[in-house]
């Protein structure tokens, strides 16, 4: 699967199927209205599926909407799983693999979506995560829950699109 002309290949990575379906619906139905682009939305419900799609099946998404905390991973031994950062962990692996296989650079943008407890303020944990996200090339972090305006705002800013349609 390769990038298509004006269509933005988007990968939504989240363990919540209802959330994924809603985001897919909004991007598919309103992309042209809001940012003047069509979205070809793919979904991955966990880290393994993300790796399968981008490393084995060759998907090169223009945009990845990445959940940072997967509640329903393989093992939930840590009482406070919101302190983990599976999203950043897996994207670090993916980027490393891309580098290994000479597929970088290509213009994939990542938007980190998280409901973790460290999203606001000057919490040191949050500063660490923000720094790590920046190091990995994450363009923006969007806290959950969000509405469609916030979502399209983040996308247009990340991809340089004008809200309302066209490139800024």
């Amino acid at each position: 699967m390769k990038k298509q002309g004006d269509t933005i290949v988007t990968l939504v990575v989240d363990d919540d199927p209802v959330y994924r379906a809603s985001v897919r619906d909004i991007l598919s139905s309103l992309g042209e209205i809001r940012v003047g682009r069509r979205f070809d939305v793919h979904e991955a419900h966990n880290q393994a599926e993300l790796k399968t799609l981008v490393l084995e099946r060759g998907l090169q998404p223009r945009l990845i909407l990445l959940d940072n905390n997967f509640e329903f991973g393989a093992d939930m031994a840590v009482p406070d799983e919101t302190k983990r950062n599976e999203g950043l962990d897996v994207i670090a692996v993916v980027i490393q693999q891309w580098k290994l296989h000479g597929k970088l650079p290509f213009d994939t943008e990542i938007i980190l979506v998280t409901a973790g407890d460290h999203v606001q303020g000057d919490n040191p944990k949050w500063l660490d995560i923000g720094q790590r996200a920046a190091d990995l090339g994450v363009a923006e972090i969007v806290p959950k829950p969000f509405d469609s305006a916030r979502l399209f705002g983040a996308i247009s800013q990340t991809l340089g699109l004008a809200v309302g349609g066209g490139r800024a």
């Binding site: 939930m76 406070d80 959950k144």
Partner: protein, 717 residues
């Protein structure tokens, strides 16, 4: 093969490893005896005369203070004054016999534990009251208690005589120091276990958290399989006399400290009064201490016998209390005896005016420090042992005993290393062994314990729980917020949104609302379980078993219809069967709590079925069976089975951990925790097995005291 850690290593198995510790001490005692026997025969010909220290002529003796307020005032001969042929072994047959009693006592205690634990495991031990096994084990327990107490008395005297003799040979002072130090690791482990889980079965938790080697793990795992059932039935938390027993035990330990302190002081006075001590008050106090000792030993023996008898309540597992009480008292008594001995002798070894041996003084100081550390640990242990079984530790930082224990090991390791550096690498043998023990403990065991305690400390649970509540809540709000915002946009400017999209989003928002309702119900249950408010206490009314089952059936049907909107497996492909072997049975139980407990397990069963890979013509089933059991104490068991993928053996214990969620959609990780809390609150437990179909079978036994089972004539048609 990588070994998956198991939880709930039975006491009996863990007790085996405690035996290794004792065996280590035994080897040391054997070495001492060999050393004693290796004394040249010529030296033993007239031991009384040879052991006697050369006194200064009376006229030239240093002035004795009018009142000796401290043993430090006792003047010991310097090393140069001790004749070269001096032997440290006392004369006569009696001390020899006592010494070997002391020697054999360790063996006996080790074998007692071994026999009891293996026997109990073989029996799957929970015999009916007044059954032959019950009588046999009761007699055995009582005999054990009495025998142990007698052994303790003899051991105290024997070891006192032995170490007293040692004290007169300065060249053996380092051995005394070693005697004081060797029990430290043992005591440390015991105390750490008590910190982690005060009360019975504490030792096993140590082995849950500390895995010394893969081989040991496999060995423990095999033992676990064999003894699992027995241990589960030995839950002592329901035993109404548990707290008095624990307080009594703590008191008995205090008695032990006092007794052993007095006996050595008294013995010392008796043995040395003709040589070093002339002061009358000092001698009088020693006599009094001896008399008190005799009195208290009698009291202590009665204590031990009483506790042994208390331990025979079949509801608590007859062996457990008896074993633990006697075993603990004996072991700690042994440790205390060594610690006190080392303390007193090290005190005496402190340099005085007429002793110029630097090494002797230094070793004396170190021995005293070690002995003080041992006694401090014993004091901490006694205090910890009084904590209620169910008490949640407020915070790890509030555990001075834990911090001090761990810090003590680290600091002692540093000190021992520094000391060896200071003296050019040389150290007495005891010091080297101690350094090695400390290093191994610190590197392998303590770090792991620290980590485990840090993760599992009770105070972190509510915090983690609240964070999870927040995280999940925000996730569930996502679809709702998207739907509402789009509906708002559609209403304000219809061209900016799509009515069909908004309809779909609203439907998903609705679904999220439904999930939130279920989830908030889970939170309530979880919060109740965390608060220890979740109880099986009766509301005062008998509840018919059939009503409970009917209610559960309705709950499952509703759950299947409401929750399975994803259409993974159609509701019609999930069948449910309910059967009741005990028609007319009633339970004196909190019906609402029981319903929550059962529905949690049944809902898990449904979700397990849905989580399977889809296959054509797959029909899931959930079976609920109220089964009569042969067990007189637990005549009823509710069994909930499914044909889902089952639970991996490595996860069977972990699924009961709070906030542990595995392989299912949107679990709080509180359901099984809450179910277990409930079952434990009624004196039972939950067990997970593999069902005939390869799925999961959850068994909940109900105790007889909560049940009314009609006779055949009373059973309704």
């Amino acid at each position: 093969m990588k070994f998956a850690p198991k939880r709930g290593i039975p006491y009996g198995v863990a007790g085996q490893t405690g035996n290794f510790m004792r065996i280590g001490i035994l080897i040391f005692a054997a070495a001492l005896s060999v050393a004693a026997l290796s004394v040249p025969a010529s030296a033993a010909e007239d031991p009384v005369e040879r052991v006697t220290v050369q006194h200064e002529p009376r006229a030239e003796a240093p002035p004795i203070p009018p009142v000796l307020s401290s043993p430090r005032d006792v003047v010991l001969p310097s090393a140069a004054q001790v004749p070269q042929e001096a032997t440290f072994f006392p004369p006569g047959l009696v001390p020899w016999a006592l010494f070997f009693t002391f020697f054999a006592f360790t063996v006996v205690v080790g074998f007692q534990h071994w026999i009891l634990s293996s026997e109990a495991g073989r029996l799957g031990f929970r015999p009916a009251r007044h059954s032959p096994e019950w009588r046999l084990m009761s007699i055995f327990t009582a005999a054990l208690a009495a025998m142990t107490m007698i052994q303790l008395g003899y051991a105290a005297y024997a070891s006192a005589a032995f170490f007293q003799t040692l004290a007169r040979a300065p060249s053996f002072l380092w051995l005394v120091f070693l005697c004081g130090f060797l029990p430290l690791p043992v005591l440390l482990i015991e105390a750490l276990c008590t910190v982690r889980h005060p009360g019975l079965g504490a030792t096993r938790h140590y082995y849950n958290n500390v895995r010394l080697s893969e081989g040991r793990d496999r060995w423990l795992a095999r033992g676990l399989e064999r003894l699992e059932d027995w241990h589960r039935h030995c839950a002592v938390t329901r035993f109404p006399g548990a707290m008095p027993v624990r307080w009594g035990l703590a008191l008995a330990r205090l008695f032990l400290v006092y007794i052993l302190a007095t006996v050595w002081l008294g013995l010392h006075v008796r043995r040395t009064k003709g040589r070093y001590l002339e002061a009358r008050p000092y001698r009088a106090w020693g006599q009094l201490a001896m008399d008190l000792h005799i009195l208290l030993v009698v009291i202590l023996a009665l204590f031990g016998l009483g506790f042994g008898l208390l331990g025979m309540d079949p509801a608590t597992g007859p062996m457990l209390l008896g074993v633990r009480v006697t075993g603990t008292m004996v072991i700690r008594g042994y440790l205390v005896s060594l610690g006190v001995t080392a303390l007193l002798i090290a005190w005496l070894a402190l340099p005085s005016d007429d002793t110029d041996s630097f090494a002797r003084g230094s070793i004396g100081r170190l021995g005293m420090l070690a002995a003080l550390a041992v006694l401090g640990l014993i004091a901490a242990d006694i205090w910890i042992s009084t904590l209620p079984l169910s008490r949640r530790l407020p915070s790890w930082e509030d555990l001075p005993q834990g911090v001090s224990l761990l810090g003590l090991v680290r600091e002692l390791g540093k000190v021992s290393y520094s000391m060896r550096q200071l003296v050019g690498g040389w150290a007495p043998p005891g010091f080297a062994v101690a350094t090695l023990v400390l290093a191994v403990m610190h590197q392998r065991a303590i770090g792991r314990i620290w980590q485990t305690l840090g993760v599992n400390a009770g105070q972190r649970l509510p915090f983690g729980f609240m964070l999870k509540v927040r995280h999940r809540g925000l996730n569930l709000l996502g679809p709702i917020k998207l739907a509402l915002s789009e509906a708002q946009i559609l209403a304000a400017s219809p061209g900016q949104s799509d009515p069909q999209l908004v309809a779909r989003l609203l439907e998903r928002g609705q679904e999220s609302c439904g999930r939130m309702e279920f989830w908030f119900d889970d939170i309530r249950k979880g919060a109740a379980a965390l608060d220890w408010a979740f109880t099986g206490e009766s509301s005062g009314q008998w509840v018919a078993l059939s009503d409970i089952l009917t209610q559960l059936q309705d709950s499952i049907r509703s759950f299947i219809l409401v929750e399975n909107r994803q259409g993974i497996i159609p509701p019609e492909n999930v069948t449910m069967s309910i059967s009741n072997d005990l028609k007319g049975a009633k339970l004196d139980i909190n019906a609402a709590s029981l319903h929550d407990c059962l529905s949690n397990i049944a809902h898990n069963a449904c979700e397990a079925i849905w989580s399977q890979p889809q296959q054509d013509n797959f029909v899931g089933f959930v079976s609920i069976l109220a089964r009569a059991q042969d067990d007189p104490l637990y005549p009823l068991a509710l069994v909930i089975e499914d044909n889902g993928p089952g639970i991996a053996p490595s996860l069977r214990q972990r699924v009961f951990d709070p906030l542990f969620s595995h392989g299912k959609d949107k679990g709080t990780g509180m359901g099984l925790y809450q179910a277990q809390a409930f079952m434990r609150s009624i004196g039972s437990d939950v067990s997970i097995r593999v069902s005939a179909s390869g799925g999961c079978s959850v068994v909940l036994p109900f105790p007889i005291d909560l049940l009314v089972i009609p006779t055949q004539r009373e059973v309704p048609a």
